[in-house]
Each structure stands twice: as C-alpha cells, then as structure tokens.
C-alpha cells in the first residue's frame, strides 16, 4: 500500500515537517489512523499523532521500526500485538497497554489503566506514573523473548497476576524513600518471572515468595531502571538507594496438589 492509496480526506490529515510526519487524529476513526501508520513506508519515519482522544488499537500489529508519538489520550489496547516500533504516549493511557505484544517499546508519560502488558511475550513497557488493576497479568517469556514492564508509580490489586515470565519493576517514585505498595493479591497465581518492588508490599499472595536481592538482581535492576530513567529524564542513583523487594514464584506448579486422577 502507498500513501496515494489513502483517500484524500485521510491524506489531508498528514503533514510532513522537518522529517517528521504529523497526523491530525482529531475525530479520525482508529481504522483510518492505523491505515495511515501501516501505509507510511520506507524510510521508516518519526510520526507524531496529535489530537488523540480515545482511538483504540493505535499501533496494533506494527512490525516495522517507527517511532510513534501519541499526543492526547489513546484509547484501549494501544500497542496491542505490537511487533517492533516504539510508541510514546505524551499523556495518560487507558486499559490494555501492550496487550499481547511481542516486540517493541511503549513509553507512557503519564499513568495507565488496567491490564498493562496483558500476556505480553516480549518488548518493553515503561509507565511513568501509576498503573491500574492486574498490571503484567500473564506476561510470559519464551526462548529469547523476555518482556519488561517498569512502572514509575505503584499498581492496584492483582499486580503480576498469573505472571509466567519476564520482569515487572514497580518503583513507587512518589511514595517517599520507603514506598509501601498497597496492591492486594500481589503476584497471585505467579509461576514464572520476577517482580522487583522498590520498598515493600502489604499483601502478597500465597503463590509468591520474598527473596533477598543478590548481585545479579541488582545488575538487572540497574540496567532496567536506568533505561526507565533515560526515557523520563530522571536520576537513577537516588532510586537505587532504596531497598527493593524481590518476589518470585514459590513454585513453577503452584497447583500441583489440586487434582485427583
């Protein structure tokens, strides 16, 4: 598909300036918006989408290597099935950020809603502020793929539910030097991966165990926190001064004794 194949009404939304493609999304349907993103060809550009108010699925299934800036509030499922590209949200995101994503990066300069990174298998998600319910639910790793979510704020209940792989880091940056994370049922059903909390949890599930961090943990943590800080221009050193809590599954098969045959 080429740009010429777009209808003139849609084409009028696109404006090239200083090597950046600007798209005015005001009132535009998500289907047209994603058509634009898929149509923008090589060389892969930087795209700024402006006036975004609730369009869903922005960046769904993109496999090229764009840098997409979303200005406004994208709708649910931003970056769903993402397979490459970087999506940067300048504002808050709603539910389903990075749903089942496979590769790529999502950076949210604000907060995000429920089920961030639902079933994601690869890629990185950085949320500057808080996340809603069930962040990291059923994220998993496979072969070379290992997903990462870093949350600058804190999460609501069922954080890391069913987690089967990958890394989930929750920093609680606005919660003082010793954050207490109030999410209940933290790590419920967790059977893989690792959660690092800056500070402490009040209510972990029976399926997780709390472990002290060793040097290899700090290595991972430093790397990922630095990556987070770079996105949001924050100093990593003070963050790392605080004590972290490491949560891992108590068992790979937490429900082994549940069944009779």
């Amino acid at each position: 598909m080429t740009e010429e194949s777009l209808s003139s009404a849609i084409r009028n939304r696109i404006n090239m300036k200083d090597g950046i493609v600007h798209v005015d999304a005001g009132g535009l349907h998500y289907k047209d918006l994603n058509t634009i993103l898929r149509t923008l060809g090589n060389p892969v550009p930087i795209v700024h989408i402006e006036n975004v108010y609730g369009q869903r699925y922005i960046g769904t299934d993109l496999s090229n290597n764009m840098e997409i800036h979303i200005c406004g509030t994208p709708g649910n499922d931003v970056a769903a099935f993402l397979d490459g590209s970087t999506i940067i949200v300048h504002g808050n995101a709603q539910d389903g950020v990075g749903n089942t994503m496979n590769r790529g990066r999502v950076i949210v300069h604000g907060r995000a809603g429920d089920i961030v990174g639902h079933s994601m298998r690869g890629g990185e998600v950085y949320i500057r502020e808080d996340v809603g319910y069930r962040c990291g639910i059923h994220m998993k790793e496979f072969e070379g793929k290992k997903p990462l979510i870093v949350v600058g704020g804190t999460g609501q209940d069922y954080l890391g539910e069913y987690m089967a792989g990958g890394t989930l880091i929750v920093l609680g940056l606005k919660m003082g030097s010793k954050p207490i994370h109030h999410a209940r049922f933290l790590g419920t059903g967790m059977h893989g991966g690792v959660i690092y909390l800056r500070g402490e949890a009040v209510h972990t599930s029976k399926e997780v165990q709390i472990k002290p961090l060793d040097e290899s943990d700090y290595k991972i943590l430093r790397r990922d926190v630095e990556a987070f800080c770079k996105e949001f221009e924050i100093q990593p050193e003070p963050i790392m001064e605080c004590e972290f809590t490491k949560l891992i599954p108590a068992s790979k098969r937490p429900y082994g004794n549940l069944y009779v045959y």
């Binding site: 069922y158 049922f185 419920t188 059903g189 599930s205 399926e207 937490p254 429900y255 549940l258």
Partner: protein, 503 residues
C-alpha cells in the same frame, strides 16, 4: 420352616491367588468365610454375605470378588427380584422389613436433571485459583434491614444480629446418632468439623463428654426421646436442633436395641445399659405449631438466646406451609431432609415410599418463604441424597443456605452402602457399637478422609462458581437463573422455578 430365600450374593474366590492368610475370615462380621484346616482352604457361606466389600479391599492378593447371585427368577417386569424376596421374607418371619441407609429407588433424583450455567463473553468467568472465591456461610436469622446511626462522619451499627453458625463452606455433617454410629465415627466427625470450620450434628443419642471440647463445632439435637439432653449438653453445642422427623422415615420413631446400649452409650444417652432406647414417633410436647414455638423458646431460654435454634423436618407434601409456620414459630434454621435421606434403621416400606424429593421441597419452601417475605428470618439447610459438590451447588442455586451430608461422609470413611446398618455388625466399624468392630475405624484417618472430602468439594464449588462469574456464594444462593432443567415436565419446572435448557 424351610427357608425359600436364596443367597443374594456369590463370593468368588480365585484359589490360585488365595494364600490362606485368613484376613477375610477375620474381617467378615457376618461369618461368611471360614477356614477348613483339613483341606487348607477357605470356604464361603454365600447366604451370609452382605456385599460390604470388607474382604475384597483387605484381601492382600485381591483374590475375592463378590457377584450378584446370577440365578435369577424368571424374567418378570412386574414382580422384581426385590419384590419376590420381600414377600418370601415376610412369609417366613411375619414382620416389618427393616433396612439401613436411604431410599435406593431410581427416578427420585432431580439434581441430575438440573444443569449449571457458565459465563461466556457478556460477563467474565473468574479464576478461582488466583482470585478470591468466597464460600463462607452464616446460618441463622437475618434482619430485613439494619439500623445505623450517623454520628459525625461515622456510622454506628445499632442492629444486633441473632446468633449465627459460621461455616467455611456451606456443607455440614448430618445428624448421626451415637449408638447408631460408633464413638470413633462421632470423634472423626467432630474433629473434621473443627479442623475444617463447619459443624457436625450429634443426632438424637447425646454427646459423649470426651467430645465436649469440640462443642463449638457441634449442633446438639433434641429429639422425641430426649436421650442425653441435659443443661450441660445444650450449653456445649454451637446450636440446638429440634428433630421433628427425618427423610428416611417421616412420621416414624426410632428404636436402638438394648444390645447396642453399651456402657459408653448408656452414659451418654443417660439410660441403663442394655435397655432399648425408644424414640417416640412424635415429640410428645409438640402436637401443633404453637407447641413447636413453645419448645423453640424453651431452648432459647435455656441457652439464653446465645445459640441459633434449628428445626429439622422430613420433606413431606406440604413442607412449604410447614416451613412457613416453623419460621414464624421462631426457628433460626430450618433443616429439611428429603426422601433419599438415610438412616441406621427404618422400615423399608417407609424408607422407599414416604416423603418427597428434597429438590422439590427446597424449591417450594424457598419460594413460599419469599412470597411471604420471611426468607431472611431463617436459614435453610437441606439434606437427603447430596452426593457430590454439584448437588451442593445446585441446592444453593435453588435456594438452600447450606446442605447436610450424612451418607457422603460415611462413604468417605469407608461405608459401601450395603444397607445393613440395622444389624449393628458394620464390618467397617461405622454403624456398630461392638468394640471389636469399632476399633477398625481409626478416628484420625477418618478425620483426614472427611477433611479431604470437604476440601475437594470446596475446590470444585469454587471452580463452578468461578465459571459462573460469581465470587461470593451469597450471589448464587437462590439464583435459579443459573440453573436449567432437562427431561422435566412443565409442572416440575414450575415447582423448581427453573427454565428448560435451551429456553
């Protein structure tokens, strides 16, 4: 008189496997097996066998199989083997046929014709393993409204609730009287109820003082014979249950033969050793509904209003009206026992022909109490043929607060439903007071078998609730929309208050 009865079962022994260890000889309480030292072989008297499977399970080489006697009478759809055998027995002995356990006739079970719902798309199922699934149940009278007082920004509760039973799952152990079952059975039931967080019911034979320490998890029963009923007994229980009737023998009393009244049982029942313990058919201080109120309040006074008072009836034709009267008489809990409810001993003709299925009784009772706006005033426990967690959850959806399980608990402990409880020779050490037999039931192991059963059913209930998108049992209670019927007539569906599957 020459007996014309044939043996019901045939013992089949694999002679090659048999090692003459004599376990079967020792285990059989009916003297079916005997060792012939001369020929070094074990012989069996088929006519003594009750098909209890004790020898089958304990034979170390699995050499024994019990078969139904294959020598049948001439095929006849009207005169079944059961009918012919009954006639011959009565002709030979001239008495009432006695049996044990519950009605074994087909077609009285509605649970199997009810199917449960599950969530698809419009609402999500909930994962019971990872998210909370609450089946905690309170039994007792609830108010129609609560009174609160607003003080500044706070609310202060004014209502004081009536006493309640708290069950970790909506499953309690049904009344099994000491004497009908052994001390070890009572011990296991009391310990399992305590460990799990539910209740056992003493039945009408009192409670051995050695079990008083489990009193917080025991419902003490007051029946027509008032055996073992004294202030200490009433005080020790978590609730008191007045037994009007039971599903296996509605309108019929009980009779524990003197030979079962041993030292311990005598002490507990507070009657002399060796005397018959007769439970009259009615409670002789209850000839009418206002008399029931009199007894309910006598017990409330005696226990200073600290315990819920339950009233248990057999499910009969006008249960709904009776239940309404019971609630108005002040019962905090009403227990209804259906036609399939079991017994240690009952006339077979009564067991199999009197009463109605619990499903229908429950449906009409729950609806009647709602129609009259008094459903909150009492909890409803149903009993009589609850054989799986599916039955439990269907009972809840039909409108029960909880279920009583008797037979299922006995099976968990070893019972094989041979229906010979009335002989007092239970080879599994359950329905007996013979010290040689009662020793066979290790109370600690039996406790574990019971708690395992409760755990397993609870897990299954949670799975089914999760599938329905319900995470608190109170949202399922009386929620008949989550049930559908199959193979039922319009009238049956109407009484059950459920729609036909597909509708």
């Amino acid at each position: 008189m020459k007996s014309f009865l044939e043996s019901e079962f045939t013992v089949v022994r694999d002679e090659e496997r048999c090692i003459r260890c004599k376990v079967c000889v020792n285990q059989c309480a009916y003297e079916t097996h005997c060792y012939d030292a001369e020929d070094d072989r074990i012989l069996s008297k088929d006519e003594n066998c009750v098909n209890c499977h004790r020898c089958v399970i304990f034979c170390p080489t699995h050499a024994i199989r019990i078969e139904q006697n294959v020598t049948g009478y001439t095929q006849n759809s009207n005169w079944s083997r059961e009918a012919i055998v009954a006639l011959k027995k009565q002709a030979e002995y001239g008495g009432i046929l006695i049996t044990g356990m519950g009605c074994d006739k087909p077609n009285f079970t509605y649970w199997d014709r009810l199917l449960l719902d599950a969530s698809q798309v419009t609402n999500p199922s909930i994962d019971p393993l990872r998210e909370p699934m609450e089946i905690k149940t309170f039994l007792g009278s609830k108010p129609d409204r609560i009174e609160l007082e607003e003080v500044d920004d706070d609310v202060v509760l004014q209502t004081k609730l009536s006493p309640q039973l708290v069950c970790e799952a909506p499953i309690l152990f049904s009344a099994l009287s000491y004497g009908a079952v052994s001390f070890n059975v009572h011990t296991a039931l009391a310990k399992a109820a305590t460990e799990f967080g539910t209740y056992m019911n003493t039945g009408e034979g009192g409670l051995d003082e050695r079990l008083y320490k489990y009193g917080d998890h025991i419902i003490v029963q007051v029946a027509s014979g008032r055996f073992g009923v004294h202030p200490g007994y009433l005080d020790v229980g978590a609730a008191v249950e007045i037994k009007i009737g039971q599903g296996a023998k509605p309108g019929i009393g009980g009779h524990l033969p003197g030979e079962k009244v041993t030292e311990d049982i005598s002490r507990t029942r507070m009657i002399p050793v060796g005397t018959d313990a007769l439970s009259p058919a009615p409670q002789h201080d209850i000839y009418s509904i206002e008399d029931l109120r009199q007894l309910i309040y006598a017990l409330k006074e005696a226990t200073d209003y600290t315990k819920p008072i339950s009233v248990k009836i057999a499910a009969v034709h006008n249960s709904a009206a009776i239940a309404s009267g019971m609630v108005r008489a002040g019962a905090d809990i009403i227990a209804i026992d259906g036609v399939r409810g079991a017994t240690g001993s009952a006339p077979k003709v009564i067991r199999d022909n009197v009463g109605i299925p619990i499903e229908l009784a429950l449906a009409s009772v729950d609806q009647r109490l709602r129609d009259e706006g008094i459903r909150n005033h009492a909890s409803v426990i149903v009993a009589g043929g609850i054989k799986s967690s599916a039955d439990v959850i269907k009972a809840i959806a039909l409108g029960a607060d909880a279920v009583y399980v008797g037979t299922a608990a006995l099976v968990a402990m070893g019972c094989t439903l041979c229906q010979k409880c009335h002989t007092g020779k239970c080879p599994w050490g359950i329905a007996t007071s013979d010290p040689w037999l009662t020793k066979r039931l290790n109370p600690d192991i039996a406790t574990r078998r019971l708690t395992n059963l409760l755990r397993a059913w609870s897990l299954e209930i949670k799975e089914m609730m999760g599938g329905m998108g319900i995470n608190a049992v109170e949202s399922l209670r009386g929620n008949r929309m989550r049930l559908r019927g199959v193979g039922l007539t319009d009238t049956e569906l109407k009484i059950l208050g459920v729609k036909m599957a597909g509708d």
